[in-house]
Amino acid sequence: MTQHSERGSEFAGRKFSEFATIKESLIARRLDASFILAPLAMQLVASGVPIKIVYLGHRDGTTLMVAKNSPVTDFAGLRGKKIAIPNRFSNQNILMHRMMKQWGMSFDSIQLIELPPPEHPTALAAGSIDGYIVGEPFPAQAELDGIGRPLYFTKDMWPNFISCVLVVRQELIDEQRELVQELVDGIAKSGKWLDADLAHRMDAAEVVGKHFNRQNPELLKFVLSKPPDRVKYTNLAPLKKDFDEIMELALEMGVLKQRLEFEQYVDTSFVTPLETLDWNMEQLPRPTAEATSK
């Protein structure tokens, strides 16, 4: 995401520590735009919150981790194990059920428990769970700390996996359409730049780690390069076939109670062909100290 776009609008990231607070902020309109879990966005629309998915945050970027010394070598080995997921309304939860179906396992054959993402590595280290599935960088953190190893990356389980999506309130679409377009274009351009060169990813890890997320840049560099397709930032247009599959699985699992049509919760009108978008790096201003301290 950009702090200042070429056209002068300012987009500031507001960091949260759990999705429940984001959800409440969206409902109360203390927040007009946010990255949230895809099934959570669907559930909010089903419960009458006027939001639309306008873009994806990334593709893949989730890893199923087990303890470093675990004897588990494939998905069947997780039978009877306790695995943490970030949220009931997460696509990680849906992915685990999708895998159980593929491996001919009943939905209760693995014990899934909800834990906030930052607690996953410590719970694995303490032995209170046998594994976890969550977005990066929390899997990579356990890998670097020597307490966990990846069992599967999402690219190997459900290629082009969707985790977080960009949602905006309908009022913002109606009243400030240009601002939403500018935001979506900025994310698309940033993703294109990130995926164009590994050196760009290393630069981004330095800047984001030090000035925005307060995360170890070396951890972010690991996530963005080991392997490079661990997480992808292109192909971010929300596609009907992807969301229809999520919807069907969510209904089958009982995570969602009401079927929604794609057009009810997605607005694809902000998607611009990627070949027409590029940052003008010469024009981009450098972030101010005030902007980076938010």
Binding site: R14, S34, G57, G61, P117, G135
Partner: protein, 53 residues
């Protein structure tokens, strides 16, 4: 002589300021600041996120 020194100092300040904008600030940032001075308030939007992919 005094006039030459004054003009030289002004020219030096101007050149250093232009170099500072070019190297450290960026012309679009200056453009945004000027637009704010002229009453064109920059649009802002907070976007929520968790530091997780």
């Amino acid at each position: 002589m005094k006039l030459k020194v004054l003009l030289g100092a002004l020219l030096w300040t101007l050149l250093v300021s232009l170099a500072h904008v070019q190297l450290n600030i960026g012309w679009s940032q200056v453009n945004a600041i000027v637009r704010e001075w002229m009453g064109h308030k920059r649009k802002t939007l907070d976007v929520g996120f968790l530091p997780v992919t």
